[in-house]
Symmetry: C2
Subunit: 421 residues, 2 copies
């Protein structure tokens, strides 16, 4: 990236400073921090609150969803969400309302019991490490931090993680036990892994017998264009490579139905799922089946889910387009920032010049626009170049987005000027 | 317990054998294994499926329960269930649909992270032990087994655990990290801990700094008589003894609203709760708030919960009475069995002569009546005297209970005869 000439910047400085002060007088209180659906999106699934009621709470087979039982899901929910996850029903566990919780559970059990029979719990080993393609999802990294697991930063490129880096590391280090992946419309950069990346992940030689790919397919059907990015089925690829146990897949309806009351899924080879179910049996008498029934009744089938996601797109696309429009208008040609134009997911990722992101986020915060804290998209909350900013435009209103992004671009320019002076 | 004379028994043997064979011809398929509510009990809360709907899903403060957020519960649910748990709202976390899950979570975090700041995770220590008053709840013991935690059997008497045993052990062994308690209408014996037991638990000197009482108050309002057993508030007692952090309390509405779709609670000192919340923040973006709202709307207040429990009692009491009636009719005066007559909870606990329980359960199973597997109420599934049988009459119909308990009494007599011959 070339820099804007110092002369040009200095000319603009007084104007920008004045504009920034003007923003401050507005007393804004805007929040672009999290990938949270807006009320209009939640309204799309409102019928889900009526389709299970006092007259009607049995599964097709007559199972009473109000009572105990069924640790892996009711049959019709397993059928629908196996199709959603592109696995067989026996390869799926339906959980509670949070896939994050299922991921955490897998990690903490890996630490305590082990992720597969016959291998040592990670907590008993010195220096277990997980590969973290970055920028990535802050909550993945936070799980590792909270459990004292070392993280190794892997560059995330347009096609997915830098596989040369990955292959080299996993081939020789037995303490590298896994890799975090958001393979489709990645958080925050929006990339979808290429077929080649999926195949290499599935087939690469690994030193650790209990190496796992944590495949958080959070945005599987969350398209923002009419030409969805295809993603190769990693479980099939792993099976074909003779590594069926290598991958654990996660998904949820948090950004399909209700963010706080969706259903979560965990999928993998039957061997993996059987082992995990045997562990879950110590922990739970089963998740909320009534909520599974609500989902199946409301969406009916994959076509129902897909047409529902069209409605989400109709709400989200104008917001993403507005962000793009302002970024283009204010920052194009200045060579002081680069940003993504994602085909799906919940985020736009903006890179400033190195050393600017923290300052931009501080300036925006001081003027009333909250952005995801600097460094959040990197392991240990440390962005090595201090340049990445995650923009989450789903929740805010169009008017708020306009003001917030306008301010953001101003802060980028002010912060750039500060560092190049 | 005195034994029935061998002569008397031998006289009866041919009749009993004939009766048993006759039972077998009925091809029964009855199940008294688990404390599972019957459909009529679930029907009592059926209004809960209508009181949150597409028109009405906001909290009193206008919070949208469909979206993300709130890891410890919506304010009105915290207010109601703090009263239920007899703690302050700041001392409470509302979870998902399973208190077992919250207990498991606390244990697995204790193993990995530690149960309080500054103390070593239990998984890093050699031979951590938990005291297990028994007979007790099989799933408590299963959590310990699954995590490789040693269990020490403590005798459970009429007033609670044998406190002389408990005090002696905890005073000298730093590796004893806690005690499981079902303090009210205990599973399976139905005892409620006396004030003295509660006070001694709260005040006793313990060697381990991170010792915890796991207070599973699962049957707090689950009375079977009009004179509920009072239970002293253990958190208050712990505070008064200067041991505020010693106890973690668990509760749930699984046997108040819906067994599979209730809400669970975890309570303790603010210091404990703040630490646990800081850990949960890595794990979850919050439990299902819509289901919390359903509970608050439906029950309204503690008076609502208490009057609701009267309706449960009206369904359960006749079932418990029927079991008692048959046990009295068939076994009284024979000195071959003793059983409890609980004032609340979900179980009747029956003790045979030593060495008989497994055989009784086998005989009953062979004739089509499933009982909780022998030994289940003891740590490691090993009843040292092989005498305890747990009877769970809630789910079965009255007619099924009659047949099942009639057969059970027959099996007790047949098995007794076998061992004394």
């Amino acid at each position: 990236m070339q820099k804007l000439s110092t002369v040009e910047l200095k000319e603009k400085q007084p104007i920008w400073k004045q504009q920034y002060q003007e923003f401050k007088t507005r007393n804004l209180n805007l929040d672009l921090t999290r990938g949270k659906p807006c009320p209009e999106q939640l309204d799309l699934a409102i019928g889900m609150l009526d389709c299970v009621n006092s007259k009607d709470y049995l599964t097709i087979d007559g199972l009473d969803c109000r009572n105990y039982g069924g640790i892996d899901g009711i049959p019709e929910a397993k059928a629908l969400f196996a199709e959603y996850m592109e696995v067989f029903p026996a390869e799926l566990i339906i959980g509670g309302n949070s896939s994050l919780n299922m991921m955490y559970d897998i990690f903490i059990k890996a630490m305590t019991i082990g992720i597969m029979p016959g291998e040592a719990p990670w907590g008993q080993l010195p220096g277990v490490k997980i590969l973290c393609p970055s920028p990535g999802y802050d909550r993945h990294f936070a799980i590792c931090s909270s459990l004292g697991i070392q993280m190794i930063l892997i560059d995330l490129a347009d096609q997915g993680p830098d596989m040369d880096q990955v292959e080299k590391l996993v081939a020789k280090d037995e303490m590298i036990k896994g890799i975090w992946c958001v393979p489709k419309y990645s958080n925050p950069t929006g990339v979808t892994y290429s077929d080649e990346v999926v195949e290499r992940l599935a087939a690469m030689p690994v030193k650790a017998k209990d190496f796992r790919i944590f495949w958080d397919n959070a945005y599987a059907v969350h398209h923002l264009t009419n030409s969805p990015s295809p993603l190769k089925n990693i479980l099939t690829a792993c099976k074909q490579a003779g590594n069926a146990e290598r991958v654990l897949l996660f998904g949820s309806t948090s950004k399909i139905s209700f963010a706080g009351a969706g259903i979560a899924m965990l999928a993998g080879s039957e061997k993996n799922i059987d082992f995990i179910k045997s562990q879950i049996s110590f922990q739970s008498i089963g998740p909320d089946k009534l909520n599974q029934l609500r989902h199946v009744r409301f969406f009916k089938n994959m076509a129902g889910i897909n047409s529902h996601m069209e409605k989400h797109k109709a709400i989200l696309k104008p917001k993403f387009d507005t962000v793009q429009k302002i970024l283009v208008q204010e920052l194009t040609g200045k060579n002081i920032a680069l940003w993504t134009c994602p085909k799906g997911g919940y985020f736009i990722s903006l890179d400033t010049l190195p050393g600017c992101a923290g300052r931009v986020i501080k300036l925006a915060g001081d003027a009333g626009v909250k952005l995801t804290p600097a460094g959040s998209t990197y392991p240990g909350k440390k962005d090595p170049q201090d340049k990445n900013i995650r923009i989450a435009p789903s929740f805010a209103s169009m008017e708020d987005i306009k003001q917030a992004v306008q301010l953001l671009t101003l802060c980028v320019q002010l912060a750039t000027l500060e560092i190049i002076q």
